[in-house]
């Protein structure tokens, strides 16, 4: 192959390499500019530091060099170079053919002629003229990006720490509270109060339990919990034992009431009697101590002393009678027991009968051991002997016994309250957990339905003008309904007219007219105050017979006479709940089961 042709083709190859290197560098520059733009933006937003930016800049420059190198080192076939030059110089493939013929083993005259022809064409051929370096195809885009990069570098982004915080990746949201915060706070407050009480009563065991309970509530409130660990801690809580008053304590408390009645008959013992009547042992204790001191200090007048003596006599007589009656009963029981033991009854039946009698006997014996009554009787006996100082000491001892009883009662109440605290915690956690499961179930249902599932429609109650209207909407078995209420008189069912408004929202349901009315009043808009000017009121008075027990009535002004209530539901709830708890606490005669029903009701309506 002639040198001319080879040289020209070689030059063309170098030219093509150079062009490819430029293309590669431009492509690298484009990529580097694009990524640099992002990096500078991140730097301006203070997401990356200066060192990272510099390192990236070096890498970007490296990308440009790498692109150029890759472009330059890519293989350029000789034929491709020759063809490119042939096409540009309009040589009708003379160079390419000559190169091919030059490498042919057997050259024909025609081939030789073709090579000579190509050599003539290549002689003086200026490769640069025909294979001009073109502007890279990505140059414009790369330049635009560089301009944008320059602008971004020069510009100052006014950004404050708040914005930065908003831009910065946020930590994962804390887990949803298991218990509504206000309920947790309320329960915690109750535990704190109980703990104070435990401290006062020096009940260390209960105090320890309450401390653990308080810590649990704190952890729940701060959401620093692991559910399983939490449940384990609750399960490990030692419940205060369900100790009850012993039989003698019960008997003593019962006798105190009778003692109080007897003491009320005398002016000097009225304070004590009233306090015992109210079962206010603290006051009773103070009154008894006062009496004891006055007796000891001889500060009682004769009249007062004789009144006190008489009152004590009345009180102890009752006790004495009761005790003698109980002793008689005890003797009878002993006889019965002895007799039963001799009888040939069936083995099991005999055993049960014996056990019953033994228990009753034991109960009576314990009831007979009454320290307080004994002290009162001692006081009376000593007063009769005019040993007022000793009598006063006996009264002091009776007061001390009363104090012990009072403390015992308080401890028992505290234990019961602590048990309630634990139960309440479990209940609230269970409901919180149930709520989360409900949310998950609802999400799952919506996702599974993919928008085609049946939504549970909560239909609002219809509002009518008169309380006697009947809704005509049937129940389709899918919708949750509430009975319609009259928006203007505060009760009743929607009228037929307004019931139709609800009909539009529930097509397809059987219209048997048995279901509650639905729909809204046509003149009312959401958020608009109820107009009461046309409302009809009807006062109803209830009659009852006197003497059949106390009847209390209360007028609730909570229902707004105009407009909507502006008191928050939570506040109302808390107020009412506290009132109810107080009432339950005071009224001792309410069975525990009934109390539980009331508590359950308030648990159900508590705000979420």
């Amino acid at each position: 192959m002639p040198e001319d042709v080879g040289r020209v083709i070689g030059r063309a190859r170098r030219r093509i390499r150079l062009q490819r290197a430029i293309e590669g560098a431009t492509l690298g520059l484009l990529a580097a500019a694009l990524t640099s733009l992002i990096m500078v933006l991140l730097f301006k937003l203070r997401v990356v530091d200066e060192a990272a930016l510099v390192a990236f800049g070096v890498a970007a420059a490296g990308a440009v060099v790498l692109g150029a190198l890759v472009g330059a080192l890519l293989k350029v076939p000789v034929i491709a170079a020759a063809r490119a030059l042939d096409a540009r110089a309009d040589l009708a493939d003379r160079l390419g053919s000559a190169w091919d013929f030059g490498h042919s083993a057997e050259r024909t005259p025609f081939m030789e002629a073709a090579i000579r022809d190509a050599s003539r064409a290549a002689n003086g051929l200026r490769v640069g003229t025909f294979l001009r370096l073109r502007a890279p195809s990505h140059l414009r885009a790369a330049l635009l990006l560089l301009c944008a990069l320059g602008l971004l570098t020069v510009l100052r982004i006014p950004i404050d720490d708040d914005t930065l915080a908003a831009v910065a990746p946020r930590p994962p949201p804390p887990p949803p509270p298991l218990v509504p915060p206000f309920q947790a706070a309320l329960a915690q407050k109750k535990v704190e109060e109980s703990q104070k009480e435990a401290k006062r009563l020096e009940d260390r065991k209960t105090q320890k339990i309450l401390q653990k309970l308080e810590q649990l509530w704190k952890d729940i409130a701060s959401r620093k919990f692991d559910k399983r660990a939490l449940w384990r801690r609750i399960a490990a809580l030692q419940r205060p034992d369900g100790a009850k008053l012993t039989e003698d304590e019960k008997a003593e408390l019962g006798r105190l009431k009778k003692t109080g009645e007897a003491m009320k008959t005398a002016a000097i013992g009225r304070r004590l009697g009233d306090a015992l009547g109210r079962q206010d042992l603290e006051e009773a204790q103070r009154a008894l101590r006062d009496l004891a001191r006055r007796l000891q200090d001889k500060r009682l007048s004769k009249k007062e002393r004789s009144e006190l003596e008489r009152a004590l006599k009345r009180a102890t007589d009752k006790t004495r009678k009761e005790l003698s009656s109980m002793r008689r009963k005890l003797e009878q029981l002993k006889k019965q027991l002895a007799k039963r033991k001799l009888e040939k009854l069936a083995k099991n039946k005999k055993q049960r009968e014996l056990e019953r009698l033994s228990k009753e006997l034991e109960k009576l014996q314990s009831m007979l051991s009454t320290k307080l009554s004994q002290e009162l009787m001692d006081a009376l006996r000593k007063m009769k002997k005019y040993e007022d100082a000793d009598a006063g000491r006996s009264l002091e001892k009776a007061a001390e016994r009363m104090k012990q009883l009072m403390k015992r009662l308080r401890q028992l109440r505290l234990a019961a309250r602590t048990r309630d605290h634990i139960r309440e915690m479990k209940e609230l956690l269970r409901r919180g957990n149930q709520g989360q499961r409900d949310d998950q179930l609802r999400d799952f249902t919506l996702r599974a339905g993919n928008g085609q599932g049946e939504d549970i429609t909560l239909l609002l109650p219809g509002q009518g003008k008169e309380g006697e209207g009947q809704g005509d909407q049937g129940d389709d078995g899918r919708s949750l309904k509430r009975p319609g209420t009259c928006g203007k008189c505060g009760g009743g069912h929607p009228t037929k007219e307004h019931g139709q408004a609800g009909k539009q929202g529930q097509q397809g349901g059987p219209s048997d007219g048995q279901g509650p009315g639905i729909g809204t009043g046509s003149n009312l808009k959401l958020g608009q105050a109820t107009d009461l000017k046309d409302a009809k009121y009807r006062d109803v008075q209830l009659r009852g017979k006197k003497g059949r027990g106390e009847s209390t009535s209360e007028i609730f002004m909570g229902a707004a006479t105009k407009g909507f209530s502006r008191v928050g539901y939570k506040n109302v709830y808390l107020r009412y709940k506290e009132a109810v708890e107080e009432a339950l606490e005071k009224n001792k005669g309410i069975p525990h089961g009934y109390k539980r029903i009331v508590e359950k009701y308030f648990e159900m309506i508590q705000p979420r």
Binding site: G96, A98, D100, A114
Partner: protein, 331 residues
């Protein structure tokens, strides 16, 4: 004759140009057709001219025959034309001694240039009589083979409009034509020239330029033209690209073509390209030569599928698309 290749090529080019110019004295325009027909003659192939009546197809062939001092015969193909009417038949002749014997009476096929006018009007039987003559350049009658004159060139014409009572040429016979040339309607200037030349008192005539020897020399020279490997590879890939399902097939090929060009197509492209290279005074075939001859060499060798036929796809358009998408240097 000259000795050097350059001189030979120059001689070839001069002959070709002169022949073309001589034919152009009678035939107005149709330079591509004249060049195509001459290429066919020099390549040893046959040409199929397709065009509506009155465009000067017959005149072109007659003028060419006059200019080349070659034996010319013309057959007007009709439905009742028999094979014997084309190739000849044995006839009983009586010699001077009164002995009777069979003697082969040569048909019109025994000529250097055969004009098969309206070839598609003859029955397939008669059309196929030309098959052996076109490919083998000899005919066999009653177990006797007769060589045809050299050069032997068939130039067939067909009318694309009147399809009633015609017998379209089978693919096998179409493949035997080197080129299929489409005679277009002349331009306004050409029409002026045609009218002027043919309505004067003296019509232009063609003078003989050169004879059989020169034709054979030129044909031989043409086949000596070398083709570089990468250029030949382009021609091969071009043929491959017309075959649906082949690795190099274009999308349009797979969509509209049922069968692609045969290897004869590659031969036709290269021979046409060689002739073109010589005519342009070059010593090797270029890509442009291949592209210039591709349509004439391949348009009758590509068979469209039903979709292509239904959509009225022209094979010329398909070849253009294939040429556009085909890379010059194999990847």
């Amino acid at each position: 004759m000259t000795d050097t290749v350059e001189a030979k090529v120059e001689q070839f080019r001069r002959h070709f140009t002169r022949l073309g110019e001589e034919v152009s004295r009678v035939i107005v325009g149709h330079h591509e057709i004249i060049e195509g027909v001459l290429t066919c003659i020099l390549s040893g192939g046959h040409a199929l001219l397709e065009g509506v009546p009155g465009l000067g197809k017959t005149m072109l062939v007659r003028s060419l025959a006059d200019a080349l001092k070659l034996a010319f015969s013309r057959i007007q193909f009709t439905p009742d034309l028999m094979p014997a009417d084309v190739i000849g038949t044995n006839m009983i002749v009586e010699d001077e001694h009164g002995h009777k014997r069979f003697e082969f009476q040569r048909g019109p096929v025994f000529a250097n240039i055969l004009l098969a006018d309206e070839i598609n009007r003859a029955t397939p039987k008669t059309q196929s009589a030309l098959l052996e003559a076109m490919q083998e350049q000899r005919v066999t009658v009653a177990r006797s083979t007769y060589e045809l004159h050299k050069p032997f060139f068939v130039l067939a014409t067909q009318n694309p409009l009147e399809m009633e009572g015609t017998y379209p040429l089978p693919e096998a016979q179409l493949d035997r034509f080197l080129f299929k040339l489409q005679v277009r309607f002349p331009s306004r200037d050409e029409l002026h020239a045609i009218v002027e030349r043919t309505t004067q008192k003296e019509s232009p005539s063609v003078s003989p330029v050169f004879g059989r020897e020169e034709i054979l020399w030129m044909s031989q020279l043409l086949r000596e033209v070398p083709v570089a490997r990468h250029v030949q590879d382009y021609a091969v890939r071009l043929i491959e690209a017309t075959h649906p399902g082949s690795p190099g097939a274009a999308a349009i090929t797979n969509k509209y073509i049922r069968y692609g060009a045969s290897p004869r197509g590659a031969q036709a492209v290269l021979l046409g390209a060689k002739a073109r290279a010589l005519v342009h005074g070059r010593f090797a075939v270029s890509y442009d030569d291949l592209r210039a001859t591709a349509k004439a060499a391949l348009r009758h060798r590509i068979i469209l599928n039903f979709e292509g036929e239904a959509e009225g796809i022209a094979t010329d358009g398909l070849i253009d698309d294939i040429l556009k998408t085909l890379p010059e240097v194999a990847p």
